[in-house]
Amino acid sequence: MGRIETAVARLELWLETMRGAGGYGGPVAHWWQQSLVYTGPGLDWRYEGIVAGYLSLWQRTGQQIWLDKAKRAGGDLINGQLENSHFAASAFELNPASGGTPHEAAADCALLLLAKSLKQAEQSGWEKYLVAAERNLTDYFIGRLWSDEHRVFRDSPNGLTFVPNKAATICEALFELVALTGKSDWLEQYIRPTLDKIIEHQVKSGKVAGAVAQNSFGARRIEKYFPIYNARCVVALLRGYEVLAEKKYFEAALAIVAFISRWLRPDGSLPTVIYENGEVSRYPLWVAPLGDVLRAAEAVRPYGFNRNFGTTLDYLLAGQDISGGIQTARGFAAQAGGKPSTIPDLRDILHVAGWCDKAFRYLASQIEAAPLPEVAIEPFEAECIFQGKKLHFLETAERVEIRQSDAKIVYSWQKGQAWANTTRPEFWLR
């Protein structure tokens, strides 16, 4: 059995350990913020990769258990949907909060992929997933975030911020919804202007040609280019090419992947941010989030774009620990400048459901058509640093525990609990 199958099997076992009442939980490390204290379920973009990954496993192996797990995850979203159509704790690094973007659109993608798969397999019960996603897309994204005047999905009802990668996720969800409901007028009403707006944010020439600017405030574009976010635009653009027969979307998608491939480092990693002048913020070097880059590279392959991302796959797989979880990054400690220390930052080695899902989704789509191998996972421990303090990290199937040098526990999260216990203010970091 191949290394991808083994990696998926171990990652899946780890994901199981992250489940508690209401869904998949755990601390979050991210570029923008952390959420180390809130550890309850997050009905955010982690569900996109988890559901898509389980559906791939089901479709490739034919084993019912994977469909059952996809449906269980879909059930988390349905059970956690609020009266106002939001999903509870859908804001990932901003949790606890609802209305997270692109997170709720990504959750909608999960629900719609599940509905589509069940319908195609002529299985009953798919409609409830469609209904939940449609309610969120209609009430929140179209009802509150769509601006008729500017013909864009805003990032918030307050203000006129447009974020291409988030808009792309909304388009992915809308494509699925249109396919299931036949609401084809939404293609012209919402999807086409959104894809056009994404392309408006794409750099046409120079060092960063093909890159998509991170966001804009009204007419002011923020010229920062995040490879992992750029990758999240690719699938929606390709879908736009296929459904709307518009070649510019195809060209834009390929240009994004070409941009990303030009910035690949020899070891397969990517800088976190590239700026207009070619400067970079190298750290953190993402590991598990590279699943989205690999997914984008895979999506353009049928169109003849065959740049080899094998080293990126190696880099991602090398980040998997014996716990089955895949590390988040390398070099978080240098985010504010300087060089990473030889000992990893706590946020580097943290296994985060909302990053591991991206690896899970990609890897599950690549397995051979055979049952996954029997594997076991073990507790993972490592030395790490956090805000200048040397710590010992331990993750088992039941808990995450961090000790300081005198062995005193300074952070503990009993998996399934909504909050980690900590008396150390370092862990309050947002």
């Binding site: 509870a88 901003l94 609802s98 700026y275």
Partner: protein, 192 residues
């Protein structure tokens, strides 16, 4: 209770949310007694804690007010020995926060020396101060301003690094804590 119901577009200012999350970490998943004098933060509290009037295992006192703080101390009498009391209070610098300008009441912490008076009253009532934190420090504010300035000058990579440096200095302890916009005081009943 469902955690995480408050929409991202209606969140309270970060320092208050930061303080409430810190309380959650300190309370070890036990439901606290909550005394809340800020209606604007009711949603933030409700999405984090199962609110009870009877808990003896820990308490959160949010924004003690000048007019009735001495009366509200009496509500804390039944806390068990060793139970944490977490006081979140706006401090004088909180006056710069645009969001809180419309908030009603006369917080004891906005007046210089007010929190010292409260601390002495709590100590007389059997609480001892374990730690004092300041959230959203002048240093982080200064670094954020510098980050914005660098960004406008086209130094975007450096601006981002300074921004994250500001994040790392968002919280302070000890002598500089009173200079932050919001204070978080960790007391223990009976000397803890």
């Amino acid at each position: 209770m469902v955690i995480g119901t408050r929409p991202v577009y209606e969140l309270a200012p970060q320092e208050y949310r930061y303080a409430l999350d810190a309380c959650a970490g300190l309370l070890a998943n036990t439901p606290p007694l909550v005394i809340n004098n800020l209606p604007e933060l009711t949603g933030e509290i409700q999405q984090r804690f199962p609110v009870t009037d009877e808990s003896v295992t820990g308490a959160i006192w949010l924004e003690p007010m000048r007019l009735d703080w001495s009366g509200q101390i009496k509500k804390l009498e039944n806390l068990a020995n060793g139970a944490p009391l977490l006081v979140i209070a706006s401090q004088p610098l909180a006056r710069i926060l645009p969001e809180r300008r419309g908030w009603q009441g006369q917080p004891v912490g906005l007046r210089p020396g007010g929190l010292g008076q409260l601390r002495r009253a709590l100590q007389r009532s059997g609480f001892s101060l374990s730690a004092r934190y300041g959230l959203h420090t002048p240093l982080s504010i200064g670094l954020n301003l510098l980050s914005g300035r660098l960004d406008r000058l086209g130094q975007k990579a450096l601006a981002d690094r300074v921004y994250f440096a500001a994040r790392l200095r968002y919280r302070s302890t000890g002598l500089t804590a009173p200079l932050a916009t919001v204070g978080l005081w960790h007391f223990s009943k009976g000397g803890g």
